[in-house]
Amino acid sequence: MPAYLLLLDGLISESPDNVALLSAGAQLFALYGSRFAPPERAVTLTAKARRYGERAICLAHEPACSWPGTDYDTLVAQLQAVGARDLDALYSHAVSWLSHLDATSEDWTAVAELPWVQAVLERALALDETYENGALHGYLGILNSLRPPALGGKPDVAREHFERAIVLSGGRDLSIKVEYARRYARLVFDQELHDRLLTEVLDAPVDAPRMTLFNVLARQEAQSLLASSREYF
């Protein structure tokens, strides 16, 4: 994958205004930075992902150039003007931003910016909930289960997103079930659901188009979560 990153970097520097390349770069750097890079590289890589993502949406949808630093209500209002044509760029913007917040989650800035990213994801979902096999529902499931209800979290909303993500991915994306178990089931202390989801992951075939690698990783995580189930609950 590092070879692809270099290649994309090169292509982007040759065509710095190519929205499709920038979107692809944002997603790939986000993915590599958050899933495969050593922790000390994650911040730099996801920061680059975020820059590509911001540039992609700015080129695709001009008002988005002023989004960085804008207040929440203004962003929510302006997002309504983004159309389905710009969904690729919007999605890349959101996931690359999210990956950077995840890599810097020790920083209060990351906590502060979460509602803004969530607003972008919600707009993308409104444009096409089936995008990337329901990945948007998966992200919104995670964001809604980060906080317990007493601190403003919405586990019920999270559950609906996770359930929908499973349906839209045809159950083939195993990482959704892992996150559903890790985030939601642990948050609400539902051991039965937790163990059922993870057992399903372990029993499922990992082969699926474009998902095999992640499904293998998801199975490893499922195994480890299941092993600590009794200790946690």
Partner: protein
């Protein structure tokens, strides 16, 4: 990712079995499960530190003491956790000061509105009164190993607030169950609107309330910074968290194990207490960067607010959830501090 790395480690079945056998032997030797509830979500700094403390306790007591956590508020709010402790379903919890104050009136003192002017004053008072309040709480049936700073709450609003006058005719939030804040707002001649914490965000959005208050950290976590534009730079009230175990359950441990729990959990709690200040400072910077404008209050106004608040002190002294004698001594310590640190 951490779980994923753990899964890749080679596992020896023999070692696992040996571990289980050892655990079984240990568990017959007077093992104690202490079940603790907390609102902090799993994975948060609080829970990471509490779990690290519990692990150290478990190791150092050779498995005799196991502390098990129920994070994320799954056991309910302070009152519900207290009920579960009463019936033995839980042995302890991480409480807010107000949540335990019905048991012991010393806990409400630090949170009296507009009592403190700076963190330095807090430090001077806490250095003297923390041990006494902990002892008082223990007398009331709860063992604590220290308090964790929540920080000063600031006013948050959509119109700049720099005086009491600015607050009049505005709907000011008062947390559900917080009788002291309610009394304070009424005394200031304001119209308080009582809501649970979880309804504040919607309240700010719909205009049901126009002024809320929270520490910088709380404002970010609760995402209230998305719905307000101004932060008034005035320490309205001080909050803290209390990690407490029901005394009966704690005393079932051997004297030696009790000592270990006190030392280890005390150390972790002290660490969190210290970190909290830095967290609030950083969170305040982030709030400012995220677009919130800081409003200052002029000194004459602040004096006016404080004088008004002092007028409710006699009423506070009458309350069963205020330790009046300790309150008077605290005021004396504060006065002395102000005299020597003008």
């Amino acid at each position: 990712m951490r779980d994923c790395r753990a899964a890749r480690m080679p596992r020896s079945l023999t070692r696992l079995w040996l571990g289980l056998l050892l655990a079984a032997t240990v568990s017959t030797a007077n093992a104690a499960d202490i079940k603790i509830a907390s609102v902090a979500p799993d994975g948060s700094r609080w829970m990471q530190q509490m779990r690290a403390g519990a692990e150290e306790v478990n190791t150092r007591t050779a498995g005799r003491v196991t502390i098990k956590f129920y994070p994320g508020g799954v056991m309910g709010n302070d009152a519900q956790v207290l009920r579960k402790i009463r019936i033995g379903q839980l042995q302890g919890g991480a409480f807010t000061a107000g949540g335990l104050a019905e048991r012991y009136g010393g806990l409400n003192l630090y949170g009296i509105p507009l009592l403190f002017r700076s963190l330095e004053e807090i430090d001077a008072v806490r250095a003297q009164f923390d041990p006494e309040i902990a002892a008082g709480l223990e007398g009331a049936g709860f063992v604590t190993f220290g308090f964790i700073e929540g920080g000063f709450a600031n006013l948050l609003s959509n119109e700049p607030i720099s005086s009491v006058e600015d607050m009049r005719r505005k709907k000011v939030w008062v947390p559900e169950g917080d009788a002291i804040s309610f009394l304070a707002m009424e005394t200031l001649g304001l119209s308080p609107a009582v809501l649970p914490v979880t309804d504040v965000l919607t309240g700010l959005q719909t205009g049901l309330i126009e002024i809320a208050f929270a520490s910088p950290v709380a404002a970010l976590v609760l995402q209230w910074h998305t719905k307000v534009k101004y932060l008034t730079d005035l320490p309205v009230s001080y909050s803290m968290g209390i990690f407490a175990i029901e005394k009966g359950a704690f005393e079932e441990l051997s004297a030696e194990d009790r000592q270990v729990v006190r030392e280890v959990m005390g150390r972790y709690i002290q660490g969190l207490d210290r970190e909290a200040r830095d967290d609030n400072r950083k969170a305040a910077e982030v709030l400012a960067r995220s677009g919130l404008q800081t409003v200052s209050v002029n000194d004459a106004d602040v004096d006016g607010w404080r004088a008004t608040m002092q007028s409710i002190h006699p009423q506070l002294r009458q309350r069963p959830d205020i330790d009046a004698a300790m309150f008077d001594r605290m005021l004396a310590v504060l006065a002395e501090y102000r005299r020597t640190n003008p």
